[in-house]
Amino acid sequence: MKVLATYNIKGGVGKTATVVNLSYVCAMEGARTLVWDLDPQGAATFYFRVRPKVKGGGKALLREKRDLDSQVKGTDFDNLDLLPADFSYRNMDLVLDNQKKPTRRLERVLDQVRNDYDYVFLDCPPGITLASENVFHASDALLVPLIPTTLSARTLEQLGDFIEDRKDGDKRLRKLRLLPFFSMVDVRKRMHMEMLESLPNTSAGFLHTHIKALTDVERMGVHRQPVPAFAPSSPATTAYEELWQEVRTAVG
């Protein structure tokens, strides 16, 4: 089972669209796939038309008072399951702080489904918190969507430093792949095109595929479906398919 998290310190960068579309493409290839919506705003949950509710809240899951599996919902698509968001996830840090080995809780909880899924996608809230440290520890790769601006370049650097500083104390982090890619690219903006040229050279795992700011991605909210499900021939569909091939190859 490979665990992939979409993550960015900054919000509003196309994180949830990435999880919803990549997990869909992954499941269509036949891999058993689970999306865990860790963002209390529940956007991924909304896109899959599931109600944002987990019995007992995040607390019951993280303390293993409730099986993960009992809270999983089948989506409308084969091989694709969802663990919905819950509003209580906003207090995740408080719950985690009271646990032994607070940065490793999420990894332990995911062990429950290790044989049930080939890929788990974690959709994470922005910011660096105790919850995000859990995500780093539990994941094989971080998919980092970046809008091609100088500010984004800085957040990538911050994230890199944060992980680098903790590598010595945490073996799992040494294996964590950082996979940044450009998202919401606007080809009419000069700065976007310049960043597309220069930034990838600064980070080893930078993915070649980028996702343009396309209306089909925005229309996901109207259709409440992944783009490839309602617009199979959209350029956005092709882009997510290519992105998935790159990610899958990178995590092996």
Binding site: G30, V72, K73, D76, D81, R224
Partner: protein
């Protein structure tokens, strides 16, 4: 589903499947057996999604209209047989309450009755029960039955297995049809040989020689199957760089196998084989003739007595011959012992139902271990001899490179080593079988019966 796999077409063997959950689960079940299409089921499917107020699918309904089944067998005229209509309700994970509501509507409002699943209905239509084929002899005999009647019943059961495997042997669907066919022939010969006093000698003499012919006919193809089944094992014995050296041996064996199989089919198509089948069928269905009793001294004995006597005799023969084996004994002595063990094993299996299972099965277990050891020894003997022969043949036909011959040399060496190991282990396996507990068990269970008969 627990797991699934995308396959371009129905696979024949498990090794044709891509790696993954399905293959892992099927490997131990299928081993070297082929998957066969038995029937095609067709229907017009209407799929309906049950949505909640968010437009989320919470259950799926599939209406199979005009389900029908077409048999794949050659005898079938291809006309579809109706299986009726079916409404399938498929749950969506995490929506149990909604599923309960849907089922309520199906039962109460639509008034539909629960049906078997489609796979089971199709199997019922075909008259098949999954997992009910076994090559084992399975006859429930009653104590006191005349020995000739009971032996006929055993032979009938073996004959049914032989017939069940004939078509697959002919078409070479997989190696196990021929294997089970051959085992049936060997069991038949063994029963005729061991129970010869229950039938008049002149009534079975012909069958004994004809079944010997049939066994010889099927031998070469089976031997080659064994080499081909074990081929990846051969390759694994070679250094990493060398497994390809054996490719010409594989081609050689495959060509030989095709030839052997063609000869086997010719034999099965012959008048001689057809005659044997019809003669044997009428022998098996013939009611016992009172006159037989004069020519067959054990015909009217109760079967448990006749069988017990034979089992006790074979047991003594095996233990005496085994005790005489030393490091200096020639390989043929071990080979003879192996054949005797097989006869004893068959006898115990044929008449198992007459004796208490808890007594027979531990004996069978230690006998099986001894047989495995003798089998390993004998297989090594035959294999190294044959590999040398294949090497010479390939040389003559200019089919073998020096690399291939050297790789075959490594195999012959390894086989000699395995054979020495088997021989060293023989003594322990034998003494486990010939132990005092087993001797007592054989004496009490089988010799006693003879004593009763004499008194």
């Amino acid at each position: 589903p627990i797991c699934s796999v995308a396959a371009p077409e129905a696979p024949r063997f498990v090794w044709e499947l891509p790696d993954g959950g399905i293959r892992e689960r099927l490997e131990p079940v299928l081993e070297m057996r082929a998957l066969l299409p038995l029937a095609t089921v067709t229907s017009r499917i209407q799929a309906l999604n049950v949505l909640n107020s968010d437009g989320k699918t919470v259950a799926r309904l599939f209406l199979d209209e005009g389900l029908s089944l077409c048999r794949e067998s050659d005898e079938s005229d291809g006309s579809p047989e109706p299986l009726g209509d079916l409404l399938r309700v498929q749950p969506v994970k995490g929506y149990d309450h909604e599923l309960a509501d849907v089922l309520e509507v199906v039962k109460k409002q639509l008034r539909l009755r629960p049906a078997d699943d489609l796979f089971k209905s199709a199997m019922d239509k075909l008259g098949l029960t999954p997992g009910n084929y076994s090559s084992k002899v399975n006859v429930s005999l009653r104590s006191g039955t005349r020995a000739d009647d009971a032996t006929r019943m055993v032979l009938e059961d073996i004959f049914a297995t032989l017939r069940a495997n004939e078509d697959g042997t002919r078409r070479d669907i997989d190696s196990e049809f021929l294997h089970d066919f051959r085992v049936s022939v060997r069991r038949t010969r063994s029963a005729l040989n061991q129970m010869k006093r229950v039938f008049p000698a002149d009534s079975v003499a012909h069958f004994r020689s004809e079944f010997r012919w049939l066994q010889q006919l099927t031998g070469p193809a089976r031997d080659l199957d064994v080499y081909l089944l074990g081929f990846s094992g051969y390759q694994a014995q070679l250094p990493d760089s060398a497994p390809d050296n054996l490719e010409s041996l594989r081609r050689f064996l495959e060509a030989k196998k095709r030839q052997a199989h063609a000869e086997l089919v010719e034999g099965l198509d012959s008048e001689r084989y057809a005659q044997l089948l019809s003669d044997w069928e009428s022998f098996l269905s013939k009611p016992p003739d009172p006159k037989d009793e004069n020519d067959a001294p054990d015909a009217v004995l109760p079967v448990e007595e006749a069988a017990g006597k034979r089992i006790w005799n074979m047991y003594r023969r095996v233990t005496e011959a085994g005790a005489a084996i030393t490091d200096d004994s020639p390989a043929e002595h071990l080979h003879e012992l192996r054949k005797d063990c097989k006869e004893l094993r068959y006898l115990l299996e044929f008449f198992q139902s007459l004796f208490p299972t808890e007594r027979v099965s531990p004996v069978l277990k230690s006998l099986k271990k001894l047989q495995d050891n003798l089998g390993e020894f004998q297989d090594c003997e035959v294999q190294s001899e044959n590999l040398r022969g294949f090497g010479r043949e390939m040389m003559e036909q200019a089919q073998a490179s020096a690399d291939t011959l050297m790789s075959m040399g490594i195999l012959v060496d390894n086989i000699a080593e395995a054979q020495a190991k088997a021989r060293a282990e023989f003594y322990e396996r034998f003494s486990n079988f010939a132990c005092e507990d087993n001797r007592k068990l054989f004496r009490d269970q089988f010799k006693r019966l003879k004593g009763v008969a004499a008194s």
